[in-house]
């Protein structure tokens, strides 16, 4: 068992609390799923953890929910710490909640939802990954996972606007501009580690003539409490963003090239934040959608001489493709950008998770070796395409494939859509710096 410094191992388990969580979730769906699973094992081969580790039967989705949430219900919440520690290994270490298995189960049993519920139970007893715990403190204090202050964020935006003035004339990053069409929200990795990402987005929006703004708060669209099992905080985090958008009176919230942020904002967030109808209060648009529209409508044009010659492939992030519905848009963008596109197999909504989802990347070094083992499936998929560039509109896929590249010596370059669009787009004359 790895060291889990976050685990308060000496504390007794609060069975009452566990019972409460189990009761609150004991609806018709979970009851039915747990009961009618035919134990047919069809889900096993859909899961990349299972495939990557020589078909270890303990990694089949059904086994994972049966021995975690299933066991919790069977014991009516009367579980001990040792059991929860075992669950910890499974619900964080062996599932990225990618939802692929539900499509392969005759009954469409939503295993990811059950694993998430088991995470909530573990979280309630202080048993959850240290890497996620750190971010929760930051979210609580500052509203974003890296603890960036409002001043630092706004300054970074201003700095980036200045920095890219010699690329695109008149480039700005408007802050808190009310009534605009898009409020652009990002992953804190961007202002903190890759500020040029903000600059690239600003270049694209300026060239496209977009009416947009960055908010000074609620700009972090990530939602790690959602993966840590802290549903109350997850609701607050996503609500920060919704509220800011309502306050600014913007038409839509635009999500950066990040997968789980889209899942949170558009699909799970409304429920976490208490919108009973499951609809976000403001329309949510993912970058893949908007960038595709720019290219389709000619608001951004690609310089034909700059289109990539080398073979490229597209990594469907689970939460953009399968769980976001944007696989065709992503592919069409790639076809604008590159001449030799080679799809992975399987692909689109059937694509395998890269192994970095479900909170895995921020879960940190404790989980890295597992990421490298489970990532074998993705590494082989990439290798089989013969591509030299892997394009992916997701920060977690980006990091995971970067690590896999090293581990499996894939010899590829990983790129985001923004990056390639900025390299290849035609800057119209009136925006060319003198």
């Amino acid at each position: 068992m790895p060291e889990n410094s976050n685990h308060m191992t000496d504390q007794p388990v609060n069975v009452e609390k566990i019972k409460q969580i189990l009761d609150a979730n004991n609806g018709a769906r979970i009851r039915t799923w747990l009961n009618i699973c035919a134990r047919c094992g069809l889900c096993a081969e859909s899961c990349f953890f299972y495939l990557a580790k020589d078909k270890d039967p303990k990694l089949s989705p059904a086994y994972k929910f049966k021995t975690t949430l299933g066991e919790m219900y069977k014991k009516k919440g009367n579980v001990d710490r040792e059991f929860l520690e075992k669950c910890y290994e499974i619900v964080w270490g062996e599932c990225t909640t990618c939802k692929r298995c539900s499509m392969y189960c005759p009954f469409g049993i939503d295993i990811a939802t059950m694993i998430s519920t088991a995470r909530t139970v573990c979280w309630s007893q202080g048993i959850f990954p240290e890497g996620l715990a750190r971010t929760l403190t930051n979210y609580r204090k500052t509203g974003n996972q890296m603890g960036t202050s409002e001043e630092d964020f706004v300054e970074t935006c201003e700095w980036m606007a200045e920095e890219f003035e010699d690329e695109v004339k008149g480039i700005t990053i408007p802050i808190d501009k009310p009534g605009v069409k898009y409020m652009y929200t990002v992953n804190p990795r961007e202002p903190v580690y890759y500020p040029q990402d903000l600059g690239m987005a600003a270049q694209i929006f300026t060239v496209a003539g977009e009416d947009w703004t960055m908010p000074s708060s609620g700009w972090d669209c990530t939602n790690l409490p959602m993966f840590a099992g802290d549903r109350a905080l997850a609701g607050k985090v996503v609500n920060n963003m919704y509220k800011k958008a309502l306050e600014l009176g913007v038409e839509k919230i635009l999500i950066t090239e990040c997968g789980h942020a889209y899942r949170s904002a558009a699909f799970e967030g409304p429920y976490l934040a208490g919108y009973a109808d499951g609809k976000p209060p403001v329309e949510i648009v993912h970058s893949v959608q908007l960038l595709y529209e720019y290219l389709r409508d000619g608001r951004i044009s690609i310089d034909p001489d700059k289109r990539i010659e080398e073979p490229v492939t597209y990594q469907d992030p689970c939460n953009v493709s399968r769980n976001g519905g944007l696989w065709e848009e992503g592919r069409k963008i790639v076809e604008y950008l590159a001449k030799d596109f080679r799809d992975m197999s399987p692909n689109r909504e059937h694509n395998h998770c890269c192994g970095g989802g479900g909170g895995f990347i921020p879960m940190g070094s404790e989980f890295k070796s597992r990421r490298m083992v489970s990532g074998k499936v993705k590494a082989e998929q990439i290798k089989a395409t013969g591509a030299k560039i892997v394009i992916t509109p997701c920060h977690n896929c980006f990091d995971q494939i970067t690590d896999l590249n090293e581990e499996y010596e894939l010899g590829v370059k990983v790129a985001s859509l923004k990056e390639l669009i900025c390299e290849e787009m035609i800057i119209p004359d009136h925006l060319k710096p003198e």
Binding site: A24, R39, M103, R322, G325, E349
Partner: protein, 219 residues
Amino acid sequence: MNEFYEILTGPGLWIAFIIFIGGLVLRLTYLFALSREKDRVFYNHVSLSWGLRSIGHWLLPLGSASLRKQPVFGLVFYVFHVCLLGVPIFLCAHNVLWDEAFGISLWSMPDKWADVLTVVFMGTVIFLFIRRLARPEVRILTSFWDYILLVLTLLPFLTGFLAYHQWGPYEIVLILHIFSAEILLIIIPFSKLGHVILFFFTRAFIGFEMGGRRKARAW
């Protein structure tokens, strides 16, 4: 012996059917009430076409990517279900009983077909049983009860087959036949076999969730 037979084919049959149908209705009613409170997500994203397609693809032989990955199992599983439903309902001898008991009768298949299909069915059960033992990812999930359920599914067919051919002590075999079928009917609503009806709801849900919300085909 005759008394047993009378009880099993008279009140026994009624009781079995009442528990079978009543149990399913009760279970559905209970789940429906619960879902109104706790599963809003089921109702929020209803999409008839995605729901129906999600169900339909799993009713077709090899209609799903999942079964196409295991075509042998996929076909055996399909034949298993078709025989399981088809033989008892359309058997000539049963139609006579339906007529006596409920005053309805359906099309009857020739006895020869029923005989062949019964043998085929028993073959599929043996296949499923062996698969459960042979494939580690299935074996690890399977409890003792799962094996019992498969045997229980086999029993009415095995005994029906023996009775038809008058092999073994006819009366005892016939009583066992009726008894095991009634037991199976009674168990369905309260076990994983509840999937006979719940399948339509869980499959529809994943259709709404993946397709209705995300345009992703869940099959």
